[in-house]
């Protein structure tokens, strides 16, 4: 019997888990019959943790203890734009950890982002265990195609902390294409337009029977459905300011109310031509009187608000098509992924851009986790013949002299791949070199993301340019980067799995696993009565998916869970009721019902499940050699005397080793001007350097 391995779509807004059994894929619903759960973690006063749609409902009352959109922050540095943006938007406390790491502080306790995500993953694990009656320890987890190495590593860490062996980090659009084309014997070129809560990805794939080859993938990690909400939120907040002269953004509770109203208005607009947003009580004035807001938003108005955001996605699409040498006319299908693609305004724009209707038979909320489940099954040997050939989304670069970063592996190169470049020292008897690895599309090192740096000294010091150091860059099938340096003479090698300098090191992860931090996640019991009672409330018409996507050729009933009432019947009735948003913070009990986000009765009995899986962890630490970077290493580097080259230090990463200018030792035969440093690594001036000539690595004395 094959092992159980699930597919998890860990989204910015919602998370979904699927399992392939006996050749069929099913989306596993949670204890409340919901097929997706909000990626929201709420911390109770007693330290226990609640995850999902019920946790999301808590945001109004306890915004500082309720963490949403953790995916926007995972694998980021504290100084990054995204973190600043999140600090402005979210009520929870985002604090800085050593080495520019990011932590979230709740009730004086600090949590890393992988820990928060691990709690969401643990919930998914528990859902799967409830369905299978067995311990579930293996998973394929999806990430936006455009995620960099730091973000992928952090997601993988989250899986480990949750007690899961992560079989594969899979790109979301690739997973969607797999679910779409699996077992269909297609010969098609398709585009996957994936607009999630926080990120946008476009992938162009060629499906040849059961081979899924990604031709190109492009994305924008700063663009998602949340940005659409924000536009409506701004509209509402500005209205409120105009009416009362008070900015509701300054009050976390008022802000959350407006945010929820904006989100619901957006969803409403995908069904109706206009929605009425009506909030009785955004804030109270000095006399304790409620200050409310009423506003009608039409689809046309919304269209204008988000026009530029939609155009931004098409610019990215242009790029992906260009990189795959195709035009829209070459595409046989367009697959939409992500909740925001349910918006009619997006569907219309996509139809116009691609000159064809997007596929209607793919459920944008579930297709990614279904694809992940198919791949998970194939990885544990449940017979599937499908084969995924994916690419790396970003240029992999090495820092060289002059503050530049030279590409070693270009974006959209298939993975796994390995490339070796030869570098030389630039000073006589230099004893060590700094190897710094970046991801990004910029020639200037500081405009890329630093993945990690390490020092290599395992070579025989000699005259400059006599020393040859081979640096090997590997990107594995997960899109994770590995870098090795070796000396051609001594044969000595040092390697490191590039670890995010602000991330968790292996010992920390190990400790979190031992402490079983994810065990705080309480799981809901499922007495039938509770489920049945919760059902009509539970249906958010825009989240509740059609029961089955037809792509597997199954009858709809095949995938619905036994004993669960059919939710569809209530949909239409609920739609209209949903559009008028009546928010009243005083009436706590009514609140959930009105918002349609309180997906379960507050009195639901809870039990804490003890994970049986803890002992099963496969700690596949590819940590190699002695140069594994950890925070201590980075700190100690600070203190060493370095050659300061540029006056302008790169922003924030002040402990970086400043770069030096190599150059002088170029072969005169090829006419390299001494001192013409910029051209040395400039591909446009490539005639000046011999490709065979080793490139100088900056180093320190």
């Amino acid at each position: 019997m094959a092992e159980i391995a699930v597919g998890i779509d860990l989204g910015t807004s919602n998370t979904c888990v699927s399992l392939m059994r006996d050749g069929k894929v099913e989306v596993l619903d949670n204890a409340y019959g919901e097929r997706t759960s909000a990626s929201v973690v709420h911390f109770h006063e007693d330290g226990s943790v609640e995850v999902g749609n019920s946790a999301k409902a808590k945001v109004i009352h306890a915004p500082a203890q309720t963490i949403s959109s953790a995916k926007r922050l995972i694998g980021r540095f504290y100084f990054s734009e995204e973190v600043k943006k999140a600090q402005a938007i979210y009520a929870y406390e985002i604090v800085e950890a050593p080495n520019h790491g990011v932590r979230i502080e709740i009730r004086e306790e600090e949590f890393s982002l992988p820990e928060i995500s691990a709690m969401v993953l643990r919930e998914m694990k528990q859902i799967a265990e409830r369905h299978t009656g067995e311990s579930v320890t293996k998973a394929v987890i999806t990430v936006p195609a455009y995620f960099n190495d730091n973000q992928r590593q952090a997601t993988k860490d989250a899986g480990r902390i949750a007690g899961l062996e992560v079989l594969r980090i899979l790109n979301e659009p690739t997973a969607a294409a797999l679910a779409y084309g699996f077992g269909m014997g297609l010969n098609q070129r398709v585009a996957v337009y994936d607009l999630g809560g926080g990120t946008f990805d476009i992938s162009v794939l060629e499906i040849g029977k059961d081979i899924f080859e990604v031709l190109a993938t492009c994305g924008d990690t700063f663009l998602g459905g949340d940005d659409f909400d924000d536009r409506i939120l701004d509209l509402l907040a500005d209205d409120f300011v105009a009416k009362y002269g008070i900015n509701p953004r300054n009050d976390p509770y008022a802000f959350e109310k407006l945010k929820l109203a904006a989100e619901n208005a957006k969803k409403g607009l995908s069904v109706d031509e206009e929605v009425l947003v009506s909030i009785d009580d955004v804030l109270k004035n000095d006399k304790g009187e409620a200050m409310g807001l009423e506003r009608t938003i039409t689809r046309a108005e919304f269209g204008q608000l988000v026009q530029d955001l939609i155009m931004r996605t098409f610019k990215v699409c242009d790029e992906a098509l260009q990189q795959s040498d195709l035009t829209v006319r070459d595409l046989d299908g367009v697959i939409l992924v992500g909740g925001p693609t349910r918006l009619s305004i997006i569907r219309e724009a996509v139809t116009a851009y691609f000159q064809q209707e997007p596929r209607a038979d793919v459920d944008p909320d579930e297709v990614v986790s279904m694809g992940a489940a198919i791949h998970a099954a194939s990885l544990v040997g449940e017979a599937t013949d499908s084969m995924l050939l994916d690419v790396t989304p970003l240029d992999l670069r090495i820092g060289v002299a002059g503050g530049l970063a030279e590409p070693v592996i270009e974006r959209n190169t298939p993975v796994p791949i390995e490339q070796t470049r030869t570098f030389t020292t630039f000073q006589d008897f230099q004893e060590s070199v700094q190897i710094r690895v970046y991801q990004g599309d910029n020639r200037l090192a500081e405009d890329n993301v630093l993945l990690g740096q390490f020092e290599f000294s395992g070579f025989e010091p000699g005259q400059r340019a006599d020393v040859s150091i081979d640096v090997t860059f590997e990107i594995d099938a997960d899109g994770i980067v590995n870098v090795t340096a070796s000396d051609q003479v001594t044969g000595e090698a040092a390697s490191t799995q590039i670890t995010l300098s602000s991330g968790l090191d292996d010992a920390e992860i190990q400790k979190l696993i031992e402490d079983d931090i994810a065990d705080r996640v309480a799981t809901a019991a499922t007495p039938e009565a509770v489920v049945a009672e919760a059902m009509p409330e539970a249906v958010n018409p825009l989240v509740a998916a059609p029961r089955v996507t037809s792509l597997f050729g199954d009858d709809a009933e095949d995938l619905s869970m036994d004993g669960q009432p059919d939710l569809d019947a209530d949909l239409d009735a609920d739609l209209d009721a949903d559009l008028e948003l009546d928010l009243d913070a005083d009436a706590d009990m009514d609140l959930d019902a009105d918002l349609k986000i309180g997906l379960q009765p507050a009195a639901t009995p809870r039990v804490v499940s003890k994970p049986a899986a803890g002992s099963n962890l496969n700690l596949d630490t590819d940590a190699l050699g002695d140069l594994d970077l950890d925070s201590a290493d980075l700190e100690s580097m600070d203190d060493e005397e370095l050659i300061q080259l540029t006056d302008e230090a790169p922003p924030e990463i002040t402990q970086e080793i400043p770069l030096d200018l190599p150059i002088k030792d170029a072969d005169p035969a090829i006419g390299l001007d001494a001192g013409d440093d910029n051209d040395f690594f400039d591909t446009s001036g490539a005639d000046l350097s011999d490709p065979e000539e080793p490139v100088n690595l900056n180093g320190k004395e």
């Binding site: 594969r168 070693v408 796994p416 490339q419 446009s684």
Partner: protein, 175 residues
């Protein structure tokens, strides 16, 4: 549970001789193969050697299989791209190495392209440069004169030829 798409003996054998194979031999295609043939071959070989197809392998075998898989991807990346493939063909015709790094292949192509645009000989570059200067100054006749001079040093330079043809066109349009 052991999942492997290929006989372990075959992995060991291929890993051993991999460095002696050129990319065409590695993908098992003829040197004159079309891009479509190369893509198909890449798919076929990936089925056998991609890490996903060999999850059950461990230790040295897993490592060797990984090496093959990565080399196969490299071969595909070079051969599917006309510019890189040209640079690679040139390299193996000189017989010095059977591998080419992707960035190197791109760079070799850029050098060649720049030579085409600006000249491969000092004199060619010199007269091409003068032609450009003339053109900027609006001296069409001078530009024609100089690019013709450049062509006497590099008679087969397609970039120069194209420039001369374009200049003639412009002259015709003026008169």
């Amino acid at each position: 549970m052991s999942v492997s798409a290929i006989d372990p003996l075959e992995i060991t054998a291929l890993a051993k001789i991999m460095d002696e194979l050129n990319y065409y031999q590695l993908l098992n295609v003829a040197p004159e193969s079309s891009t479509t043939d190369i893509k198909r071959a890449f798919h076929t070989v990936s089925r056998s050697f991609h890490p996903d197809a060999n999850r059950g392998l461990e230790g040295e075998l897993r490592y060797q299989c990984g090496l093959i898989s990565k080399r196969v991807t490299e071969a595909y990346c070079v051969l599917r791209d006309a510019r890189r493939r040209k640079a690679y063909d040139h390299k193996i015709s000189e017989g010095d190495n059977l591998r080419i790094q992707l960035a190197e292949a791109r760079q070799a192509h850029d050098i060649q392209r720049k030579a085409e645009l600006c000249g491969a000989t000092p004199q060619g570059r010199q007269f091409h440069g003068r032609a450009e200067t003339d053109l900027k100054a609006g001296n069409l006749a001078g530009a024609i004169q100089n690019i013709k001079m450049a062509l006497t040093f590099e008679g087969s330079n397609t970039g120069f030829k194209a420039m001369l043809a374009e200049l003639h066109e412009r002259k015709k349009a003026l008169s």
